[in-house]
Symmetry: C2
Subunit: 223 residues, 2 copies
């Protein structure tokens, strides 16, 4: 188990032996679940950190029509819902379900805090995880405030260019499918709009690298 | 200064004397800024927690057209950008500026981590602040995924009703202005759509309390 934990983001940088000694100082539970078992219910207060040790766990929303929709899948080894644990509104919004036979470690939040106080690396990891979650969602929200597909692409590309410098090509990094999901648009819409921006001479795409040719037109697309 | 700090969310629940003894164990800086001084620049790595002790500080974005837009105002006493400090991408996206003459305390992040390790209340407070930020932005993102004004209102009201129970009235809590900002819509659009939902017999609003009369129609508005 300690070797598995050393591969999670929470215990990143800690040796299995170190993790063993940390966990020996607290209480924790390891439970096994059969496929389709519910691990936690929407509406439950989230007072334990859950780490999937083996198997695959899904987060499912029951929408207002009563339909179950999978919103996330967490393969082992990984923790999840880290930000809910310490939020003022800590009720889960999703059902957590075993997609296959799974093994889950659960640590009560007061014990987790004690571990963080004792081990600076764990504190750093945990702060890093929830801070990154915040940044990702904030960035996504900024995109969603822009109404048009070309506007979102322009915003994304201009931000990328700020990292490399004006006029310089930068790598596309994501596949079309990944980029479409990230920008909250469909893949055909992405491809069509990229082609139009190329045809209009605003961007150049070569070998998965993008160059902004017309900065002014690009900026105009956002507003 | 310690009395001022005891009124911030970060030091919530700690007596001024306790805060004094915590801060005496580390290095920190207190700087004064004149009105319009820049406190931190967009693009800078955020390695210090900044706490406004006196005055008023603003976060300003320079948009791609070079125009400065105020995105947040932080009155004393308060900290800000807590989530950036421990994120992997920790470059500020905003200029931080003194709106009036201000005094700002700055604590380097390694010292802050040390304080959190030594004082469980501070750890709890900090985790709570960044977790809440995440939940607020996530909720907002969920609203933005819904395209229509009525859909956003329906989603908001159905969630509120889940807290009180089916058919029961729940308080509106926010003013129309606050609700409009929260839902990312204009105030006239909010008022018009609320009236339409009343006229269609979907909701009843009385004494700042809302009752959902037709759950099925409400649900249909979201999709």
């Amino acid at each position: 188990m300690y070797e598995i934990l050393s591969r999670t983001r929470i215990f990143k940088g800690l040796e299995p032996e170190k993790i063993r000694s940390l966990l020996e100082g607290i209480h924790y539970q390891v439970r096994t679940y059969n496929k389709e078992d519910i691990i936690a219910f929407a509406g439950d207060e989230q007072n334990h950190l859950l780490i999937v040790l083996e198997g695959l766990v899904s987060g499912e929303i029951i929408n207002f029509e009563g339909k179950s929709i999978i919103v996330s899948e967490i393969p082992a080894p990984n923790s999840f819902a880290e930000a809910y644990l310490f939020a003022s509104k800590n009720k889960l919004k999703i059902n957590v379900k075993a997609k296959v036979d799974s093994k889950v470690l659960s640590i009560q939040k007061d014990y987790l805090k004690r571990l963080m106080s004792n081990e600076p690396q764990l504190l750093e990891n945990y702060l890093n995880i929830i801070s990154n979650r915040f940044i990702i969602v904030s960035d996504k929200l900024n995109f969603m405030m822009i109404k048009t597909v070309k506007g979102r692409l322009a915003y994304y590309f201009l931000n990328k260019q700020e990292e490399t410098g004006p006029g310089k090509p930068f790598p596309l990094e994501r596949t079309h499918q990944e980029l479409a999901v990230f920008l909250g648009i469909t893949r055909p819409a992405l491809t069509r709009n990229l082609l139009e921006m190329k045809d209009e001479g605003i961007i150049l795409i070569e070998k998965k690298k993008v160059t902004i040719l017309d900065n002014k037109k690009m900026v105009a697309l956002i507003s």
